[in-house]
Amino acid sequence: MERDTASKVTGQAQYTADLAIPGMLRASVLRSPYPHARILSIETTKAEAVPGVYAVLTRDDLQGISPFYGLAYKDQPILAMDKARYVGEPVAAVAAIDEATALEALDHLEVHYEPLPAVVNLEEALSPGAPLVHEEELHKAGFYYDLKDLQPVPNTNICHHSMFEKGDVTRGMAEADRVIENTFTLPSVNHYPLEPLVTTADFQGDYLKIWSATQAPFHVRQELAAIFGLPMSRVRVMVPFLGGGFGGKTYTHIEPLTAALARKAQRPVQLAFNAEETFRTICRCAFRCHARTGVKADGTLVAWDIEFFLDCGAYAAHAPRLANPGPLWLTPYRFPHMRVRANAVYTNTVPNAVLRGAPAPFMGWPRESQMDIIARELGTDPVELRLKNALGPEEVFAPGWEPLHFDLPAGLREITQALEKPAPDEAAGPAPGKKRGKGVACGVETTPAASVSSVVLSLAADGSLRINASVVEMGQGARDVLPRIAAEELGIPLERITVTHPDTEVTPYEQITSASRTTTRVGRAIEHAAQRIRAEVTTSFCELYEVDPAQSEVSLSDGYVHGGGQTVPLGEIVTARYQGMPGGEIVAYAPDPGSESGSATHVAVAGVEVEIDQETGEVQVLKFASSLSVGKAINESAAHGQNEGGVAYALGHALTEEMVYNDDGQLINGNLMEYRVPSFANMPEEFVSILVEDRGGPGPGGSRGIGEAGALIVMPAIANAVHDAVGLRFMETPLTPQRILERLADRTEG
């Protein structure tokens, strides 16, 4: 809303690091230089003696609390305990009068390590007899219904695995005329939200106050309560504006460490990372997938059989959820036979966090690449192959699953048309030495069915409305969309509606702001609560003004109640309850408790035209067309912004981004000088944003979510276009100029 954008363009908007709490100390963290090492001793006396140091925290300070957290397993300690499991793992921390003092104190800490053999990638972690990242028994966190049944493989680094089958893949492959088999990989990438991780904690007695750049204040609350043995009601988590999240700020990160420092220092403590430290704390899993597709000669898909491995890093974090069957069923195509074997694997590298799109970009990489590979094999057009096998809108593709409720073939045709249309100033053809190509891909993702949202709507005596919700605003525009939903129901002008920022002491329970769930889940909760207010207002209005609701229609618009020939300001209905004085509120609470009917399936169709410079290997995106199943765009320009932003975000994963570790498990490019995120130079020359408003979603007005959809399927669309241009098939990302040149050179020589 303009109020928010106005505060952001003037520098008034506050983000977590901007909040100065009186008496606040600054913290710094000592990190393990080894990927795997026993911690023999930590000597803190000299550090404690540095003037201006208030607290030095080590594992010894974590006695008497439960210092482990994690959403699947509680396997991640606040500070490394018996051993460090990745380069960068926090081993000690200091709270001091300013950051320079805290950093100086770190230099005075003496830690003795005994290096251990490490496993720094999937191959090492999975090899027989590999050193174990976690030797201890894994304790389930027991907090999410879909993470109740975790299946580690004993004596290996596999912390969770699952398999599901539909039909019989062996039979399916036997029936197929061709079986195409390939291995696809993805490296780790970093979320790099522009705002790094930051938390401020103030811990007095049994009351813990937290300000944190988190997407999940209620999850953080329950973890902190469990760690420190506090009632949840005595843990307060507040979240102002977030400078981007992209999944990297979901679940728990540095809140327990900051709280532990604040507890020891008995002063508020701020732990504010820069980007480099964020690189050492979160990343998206690396991935390896062996994929087999069985297809008939006429292009009919028969069977899909994959086995994949996700590199969790040193702690399980979100990866087990990505290795769970549920969402893996989801594909845009008809496969009579499917088998998916999923594994989440520990390595001695940076731990994972979910990244925008969750399983969809992982599943889409092998699947959409295979589709084009198959099309070439069969001599058929990649779009035709997809059209032939696309699921119909009401087609049931798996037991217990809703159909897509989306016209995918129409989406494909629209994208193809968009790619056909030349740009206004497009040259007739590529310049000499440059080659052009086009590629498409289809992506699907679903919001989790059972997730909980709730809101409180409070109508004030002047007819203005407060939406009490714990939705985190990270640029997706929830604070604009949610008031529009309330305004639609209650006829209150937008400028008279305000939305809270999350504060677990005051705003009602919200499971998390992620998974594109806010418009549908919180939107529905707002609708329910608004309907309650509407009902109360209508009843009171009819009583006060002697209007018979059976005879006259009562309506709300522009801040007024209309009915029986009368028009009354909304606020007067409130004041009537307050002895006619301008006070009191009408309040309604509504949960959306999460049900299958509230789950939305998001479909994205991407089409891209690239131009490759064969001298430099650079890939220029000439045109990117992205069609999203938004259902209804409640704020149209913001929705286009999410589409374009999502595509731009994932273009980095396709073309430039990769976290690079050396053989010793050292992350060698964990900073912005060496890690390339998309800049102005990487923009597509033309972006076509298509929002399919088929009203087929479960949210208000038939809406679905949109936060992730643009980012779902960019990597294979790019890879398919590159193949179309220069005949090179990449099974890994990023498609850097160097890799393209090397492959072009190999081909010339070979």
């Binding site: 928010d4 363009v9 003037t10 008034q12 950051e99 522009l194 640029g475 997706q476 286009h640 923009m683």
Partner: protein, 159 residues
């Protein structure tokens, strides 16, 4: 050893400020912590992302690695100094109207870099805007709406 402070006089957003800093302090931290001007943000901390951009004597600098002592006697403009009272600068208006921001974290730096551009070149082309602003990273928008915003503001600003 006791701390040593150096006295600086800087003009910040049109106001003279006398402040004492240590030799190692960076301008970004002094602006944020001493002067409560938190519009400039710390992100990459290595002068790459532009979130900390402020104008020093009219030139865009990355304040995260700009020594505060080097600002002595100079004129600093932060995002907080761009509007005239209640009246937003055309760049600020344009970013609002043209969707040039989402999370807003890059916005202070982006707008100031754009101001430096338009002060130098009041009629830039799209490519000139893209090239000039390439030292500012945005993770949210995909950059197109930023370019549109800057061009719209340029049009407003030209007589």
């Amino acid at each position: 050893m006791p701390r040593q402070y150096l006295a600086l006089r800087v003009e910040v957003n049109g106001q003279t400020q006398d402040i004492e800093v240590e030799s190692h302090e960076m301008l970004l931290d002094v602006l944020r912590d001493r002067l409560n001007l938190t519009g400039a943000k710390k992100s990459c901390d290595v002068q790459v992302c532009g979130a900390c951009t402020v104008l020093v004597n009219g030139k865009a600098v990355s304040a995260c690695n700009y020594l505060a002592v080097d600002a002595d006697g100079k004129n600093i403009l932060t995002i907080e100094g761009l509007a005239s009272g209640d009246e937003l600068h055309p760049l600020q208006e344009a970013f609002i109207q043209h969707g040039g921001l989402q999370c807003g974290f890059c916005t202070s730096g982006m707008i100031l870099s754009a101001k430096a551009l338009l002060d130098e070149n009041p009629n830039p082309s799209r490519s000139e805007v893209k090239a000039y602003l390439s030292g500012n990273i945005c993770r949210c928008t995909g950059y197109r709406t930023i370019v549109n915003s800057v061009l719209a503001a340029a049009e407003q600003l030209r007589p």
